[in-house]
Each structure stands twice: as structure tokens, then as C-alpha cells.
Amino acid sequence: MNIWIYARNLTLGLWIVFKRTFTKPVTVQYPEERPYLPPRWRGRIVLTRDPDGEERCVACYLCAAACPVDCIALQAADDPTAQDRRYPEFFRINFSRCIYCGMCEEACPTNAIQLTPDFEQSEYARRNLVYEKEDLLISGTGKYPDYNFYRVAGVKTRDKDKGQAENELPPVDVRSLMP
């Protein structure tokens, strides 16, 4: 008879739900219990410095171009004190638009822009979610402690000439016939 099957199933459902009384909830009680965030968690965006303490960002606009929601705005400027080094005059990320996709980090040629495992960015005013360069810039090197773009790039800076970078041969003298 169908009705017995219905009755059995209804009571069985009640029993199964009732058994949940004795199981441990899966909830993580957030402010007291912190969830584990892996180091590569994509959270708040920071601008890092190289091991020498200089800004890594060279204002190449690749992050702004890669950003799918166009939340990054910056403007390049030349540093008058350090010849041939470029740096952003301003660097602005609108976190109310950011979707934390990490495209900027992947696009960055100098590992300057990095996503960190921090998601606690709530603000009462939406305007406070617009981060300027001084909010973004940290004093450390982030995920790549030894990397310094200018030390491996073959450009001339105030510290080094061409050919003096790491793993770089001296420049070929094109006017000479010697190998």
C-alpha cells in the first residue's frame, strides 16, 4: 500500500533530521575561530618593494589592462633622482569594484602587485574602499623575497650599467670583430 510507504518515509525523514542533533556543526565561528587561509589566497592587493627597499612597480599599465573590472588606475612618472627608473605617480585600486581575480598579479612583470591572504576589508563608507598608493604600498617584499627586477633586467640604472645584471653577459660590442 502506498500510504504505508509515505508514512514510513515521512517518519524516516524526521528521524534522519533528528539524528543531526548529535553531530558537530560544520560552522567556523569566525571572529574567534580564524579560518585557515593558504598563502596564495587572493585577498587584499598590496604593492611590494624590492629587497633594497625601492618600489617594484615600474608603472607599465599591464595590471590596469588586465583588470577585467577596470578597478586599477595609475599614472607613470620618471623619477628625477634615479635615472631610467620609472614609478607610478599615483596608483589607485577601487576595492568596491575589485573581484579579487588575481589577473593583475599574473600580468605584473616585476612581481610588484600581489594578492595577500587578508579579506577583512569592510568599511562603513564606500569611499574608504578606494585605496591610494600609500595605502597599498607595504615595506616588505611579499611572496618573492629575493627578486629585484632592476637587478635582472638589462637596463641601465643609477646603480649599474648595461651588462652588470645577474646572469647577464657584458653587452656585445657591435663595432668589434672579436667574438
Partner: protein
């Protein structure tokens, strides 16, 4: 002569107890639902979160009490009062322990039925006075549902009345000293409990306020304390349903060792928990299923139950 101080004390205890329990249920229900869904539920305020109802109350009192400009104002305002008043009036005939009852009416069962039938007005005119389509749809559903299930409620508890030979609730409890009426009246109990769930519009019979379909049904337009009254009224009717089930079918205050009040409260709490468990488990009926279930299953069962019980009572009487 009526002993006024005793009556006043009883009224105070029952009124205070019912309202406190209703307030507490707001928290208990959310907590239990949480536990059964492998969550915690509200557990922040006070030990285990038991002050959550207080916080809810403060919130709901300080909210803007908005009356929609398109509503029928007078009717709109009195409706929430009807919910709470009819539910609280029914508690007047609920015997908690021997002689611990506000009014030991000779027609206690009928009084309970009368109050539950008046409670239908709150739903109906509340939805009508809101003058919004979701509220109106909710109240249309509520009319069909409440009218149908009132019939089954009355019919299915008549078996217990027949066995006890009285409409007086205290007499009915006293008639269950040997055996609880749930044993000879199992069909009656099922019918009464289901009809009660429908009267209190709890899952699986909560079509009038089906939040998945009708926003909030008949109380869509209510806010602030008026909504709070509907809320408290619903919990009051849950408590009332549990209390009446215990009185009519589960021997009221009878039980070994413990004092009568404790037994009554224990049994009542078990039923409240069962109602919440049902909410956590069963899905909502479809509306046509609800009505055909009522008229084609519950109604014949209640009638057969009544017929058989009446026959047995007559046969025993000789």
C-alpha cells in the same frame, strides 16, 4: 464566590508564562533549526544565545511602524491584536495542573474551537486590509485552508470528548488516568495534530505565508511591532496546539514521580520540539494537495474514528 486573588495569580502566571515561552521560542526555533542543519543558530547573546529574543524585541520595537498608504488603516491596525488576543484567550481554558486553570469552563473544548475559528479573521482581514496582491493571495489561501481544517479539528477531537463524556478539559485529563487517549484515539490524534498545524499555519501547511511564493503571505505589508504581534501570535498558537494535544491525547499532567506542572511542561515542550522538527524536515504541500488531503483523507478518517468511538462508547454503556 470566586477567589479573586487566586484567579488573578493564575492569570498572571499563565499569561506571563505563555508570552515568555513564545518569546523564547523565537530563539529556540532558530537554534534547533540550526542544530538540525549542522549550524549553530543564534548563539552570540547571553549563554547559548538565549537573549536573542530580547535583542529581536528591542529591534522590532524601535523599528518604524509603517502603515502603507494604500491600506485600509483601521482594519490594518486592529488585525495583529486579534491574533494575539484569540491565542491568549484560548489559554484561559488550558488546565496546567489540577485546579491550576483560569476558567474551568464546562465547554472548554468548544471555547478553544471558537477562539481558533475567530483567529481566522486576523489572517483574512489582515491580508485584505493590506491591499496588496501577495497579502491578498495569502489570505485567499488562508480562508480555504482554515475553514477546511477547522472542520477536521473539531471532528477529530470529538473522539476524546466522547470517551471522556465531557467538554470540560479537566475532566478529559482526569479520564486519562489509566490510559492516554492517544492509544484508543490514534486516528483522532493524527487528525487533530495535522489540523492544528494547519490552523497555526506551520510547515507543511504554511501556504498562507509561503515565503518562497508569496513574499510573506498575509503579513507581507506589516512591519515593526505589528509584524512582531503576528510572529508572537504564531508561536502562541504553536504552544497552544502542543498544550491541547497533551491535554486531549497525552494525559495532561498525569505522570509518575514528578509534580503535575513539570509533567505538563515536559510533554508540551516535547510537542513544541516535534513541531519544529517537522518544520526542519518536511517540505510544503501544494495547495490543491492540501485541500484534497484534508477532504479526502483526514475528513473520512475523522468521521470513521468518530463513528467507531461512538459505537464503542454506546456498546460499553450497554
Amino acid at each position: 464566590m470566586i477567589d479573586w486573588s487566586h484567579t488573578a495569580l493564575t492569570i498572571g502566571v499563565i499569561l506571563g508564562g505563555a508570552l515568555t515561552l513564545a518569546g523564547l521560542l523565537i530563539w529556540v526555533e532558530r537554534r534547533l533549526l540550526g542544530i538540525w542543519q549542522e549550524r549553530y543558530g543564534p548563539n552570540r547573546l547571553g549563554p547559548g544565545g538565549c537573549l536573542q529574543s530580547l535583542a529581536d524585541m528591542i529591534k522590532i520595537f524601535t523599528k518604524e511602524d509603517w502603515i502603507p498608504p494604500f491600506a485600509d488603516k483601521a482594519v490594518f491596525v486592529i488585525t495583529p491584536a486579534i491574533v494575539v488576543i484569540t491565542a491568549l484567550m484560548s489559554f484561559a481554558v488550558v488546565p496546567i495542573a489540577p485546579s491550576f486553570v483560569v476558567s474551568d469552563l464546562n465547554m472548554g473544548v468548544l471555547f478553544f474551537l471558537a477562539m481558533s475559528s475567530l483567529a481566522a479573521y486576523s489572517v483574512i482581514i489582515g491580508g485584505w486590509a493590506s491591499n496588496s496582491k501577495f497579502a491578498f493571495l495569502g489570505s485567499l489561501r488562508a480562508i480555504a485552508q482554515l475553514l477546511s481544517y477547522e472542520v477536521f479539528m473539531g471532528l477529530s477531537l470529538m473522539g476524546a470528548v466522547l470517551l471522556a463524556g465531557s467538554f470540560n478539559l479537566s475532566d478529559i485529563v482526569d479520564a486519562q488516568q489509566q490510559v492516554w487517549f492517544v492509544v484508543p484515539q490514534f486516528l483522532g490524534f493524527l487528525g487533530f495534530f495535522m489540523a492544528g498545524l494547519a490552523e497555526a499555519h506551520r510547515t507543511p501547511f504554511d501556504m498562507p505565508e509561503a515565503e518562497a511564493e508569496l513574499v510573506a503571505g498575509y503579513h507581507s505589508e506589516y512591519s515593526g511591532m505589528k509584524f512582531g504581534m503576528f510572529f508572537v501570535g504564531e508561536y502562541l498558537s504553536v504552544i497552544l496546539l502542543s498544550a491541547m494535544t497533551v491535554i486531549l491525547f497525552f494525559g495532561g499532567w498525569h505522570g509518575p514521580w514528578l509534580p503535575p506542572v513539570v509533567w505538563f511542561v515536559l510533554k508540551m515542550s516535547a510537542f513544541i520540539v516535534l513541531i519544529i522538527l517537522i518544520r526542519a524536515t518536511w517540505p510544503r504541500f501544494r495547495f490543491d494537495q492540501l485541500l484534497s488531503f484534508g477532504w479526502k483523507v483526514v475528513m473520512p478518517l475523522a468521521l470513521i474514528n468518530l463513528l467507531v468511538t461512538g459505537g464503542v462508547v454506546l456498546w460499553k454503556a450497554g
